[in-house]
């Protein structure tokens, strides 16, 4: 088998980004506010909610993939969407996997603040809108950790993405599923080439985020 053409490599890489970046953005957009909200407040049933989140954090991605597959299949509850074996299904699965991680880590970051933090800030007469801004600024390193973790999980996800995406050439094939496929086919050279691109991608993205994180420490 010939090594995939440059055009194919670019196509797979771009699709990987087109799936992973929206998945990251959506899980952050939903997860960060939820994590902050839960972290700040005490409410009855909080223990149950936090346990649920911790369970979600440890949930095997392949189980999440199975649930999404089942939900989107033709005979499933959302079969009418015809999302199975499409990019939307892959993004959905990625978001479901990353969301508990984002919420859990953000929760922990908020929890690391002094108990009295909110009271102190309130007693200084800081208006409500600014209190949220201050909070985010205080925990920004923790939030960055959530982003990096979510990004890592999303970029490396292969099982769930294979299950709901189908690894269809030209449609839902991304770097991770392509690597799996070529390895199964015995085409290790090709698999290594794709792996190099994937690792390179992770290094660049993680490196950027880490630079931002470390600059916050000076």
């Amino acid at each position: 088998m010939n090594f995939p053409s440059l055009a194919t490599l670019i196509e797979i890489t771009l699709r990987t980004l087109a799936i992973c970046i929206p998945a990251l953005v959506i899980s952050l957009a939903i997860g960060l506010p939820i994590g902050i909200a839960i972290g700040r407040r005490l409410f009855s049933g909080r223990v149950a909610v936090v346990s649920l989140i911790n369970t979600g954090m440890g949930a095997p991605p392949v189980v999440v993939g199975l649930l999404v597959y089942f939900a989107l299949a033709r005979n499933g509850p959302f079969g009418d969407l015809s999302w199975l074996y499409s990019g939307q299904a892959m993004i959905l699965a990625q978001v479901m996997i990353a969301l508990p991680l984002v919420v859990g880590i953000t929760l922990a970051a908020v929890g690391s603040l002094d108990e009295d933090w909110e009271l102190q800030v309130r007693s200084l007469g800081v208006p409500k809108r600014w209190r949220l801004w201050l909070l985010v600024r205080e925990i920004r390193l923790g939030l960055l950790a959530a982003v990096i973790t979510a990004l890592g999980g999303i970029l490396s996800e292969v099982g769930a993405v294979w299950m709901v995406g189908g690894n269809l050439e030209g449609e839902t094939r991304v770097l991770t599923t392509a690597i799996l496929m070529y390895t199964q086919m015995g085409e290790l050279e090709i698999a290594f080439g794709l792996a190099a691109i994937l690792v390179g991608l992770m290094l660049v993205l993680a490196g950027l985020l880490t630079a931002v994180q470390q600059s916050g420490r000076t």
Binding site: L84, L168, G170, Q184, M185, G186
Partner: protein, 280 residues
């Protein structure tokens, strides 16, 4: 038991495990086969009988035909059980395989949605059927993984005068095993080329029908290849020979002839070494 004794036993066990040959560690016979064969369930029926009769433990790895042939070429297997005659013959010619023995056969099917928008049912010739699909720009899910089934697709496409990589808008390559490819076809209401065994196993679930008729270009022959051992290990070669003998043994061949009848109402394979007609 005192603590030093437990420690001794532990060390002895570890040492034994460490000393054994790494390949032999995983079983007494490394059998490489295709995913479609594994998915058919035939091996699950035959291998326990083999193990009981000979005491040899088979370790099964299922990959696409292309990968299987490569593993044979690289000496990473003891026996192959595949259905890619050209590649198999090349393996024998190169000396990587010591022998090739045909075991059984069946026919590929072109499956598709019962409403058959491309009108495949009307064609007797598989190549014409494929051309109909292409002309209708209907969805076709290709294996795309260099497996035996994939190679058959390519052969049919060539016979139909079409681009082996498809070339029409509905042609989608899954790069996956037969089961996954069939599920994708079912989900998409698409056409697909499949071996009969896997198709029958998935038919109800995916709600697709077999639309083709048996023809020479769909014939699928399964063979056992004994791989030349790269180390002098008479025990392994002996076990490989035992497996080959087992597969063409009368009892096994009768078992093959009946396999699938209970589940699908018809057998999946036709054995090639039965002396008397099995009355299928």
């Amino acid at each position: 038991m005192t603590r030093p004794r437990i420690l001794h036993l532990l060390i002895a066990a570890l040492a034994t495990a460490a000393c054994s040959d790494p390949i032999a560690d995983e079983g007494d016979l490394l059998l490489v086969t295709t995913t479609s064969l594994r998915d058919s369930g035939l091996l699950s029926a035959l291998l326990p009988v083999f193990q009981e009769r000979t005491g040899v433990r088979p370790q099964v790895i299922a990959v696409g035909s292309g990968a299987a042939l490569r593993m044979g070429r690289d000496g990473n297997a003891d026996v192959l059980l595949t259905h890619a005659p050209e590649g198999e013959e090349a393996l024998v010619a190169s000396g990587a395989a010591v022998s090739r023995t045909t075991v059984m056969e069946n026919y590929f099917v072109i499956a598709g949605p019962p409403e058959d928008p491309a009108g495949v049912r009307a064609e007797k010739s598989p190549a014409d059927a494929i051309r109909r699909i292409a002309d209708a720009s209907a969805q076709f899910i290709s294996r795309g993984d260099d497996s035996g089934t994939h190679r058959r697709e390519v052969a049919l496409l060539r016979e139909a005068g079409l681009d082996p990589a498809g070339g029409w808008p509905g042609f989608v390559s899954s790069g996956a095993g037969m089961g996954q490819t069939l599920q994708i076809a079912g989900e998409r209401r698409a056409y697909v080329l499949s071996d009969i065994g896997t198709f029958l196993a998935f038919r109800e679930r995916i709600e697709l029908e077999s639309l083709s008729q048996p023809a020479p270009s769909l014939r699928n022959v399964y063979s056992v290849l004994r791989i030349a051992p790269d180390r002098f290990d008479p025990a392994r070669a002996e076990r490989a020979a035992q497996f080959e003998a087992f597969m063409i043994d009368a009892k096994t061949q009768r078992q093959i002839a009946d396999f699938g009848r209970e589940r699908f109402g018809r057998p999946l394979f036709r054995p090639l070494h039965l002396k008397s007609p099995s009355g299928s």
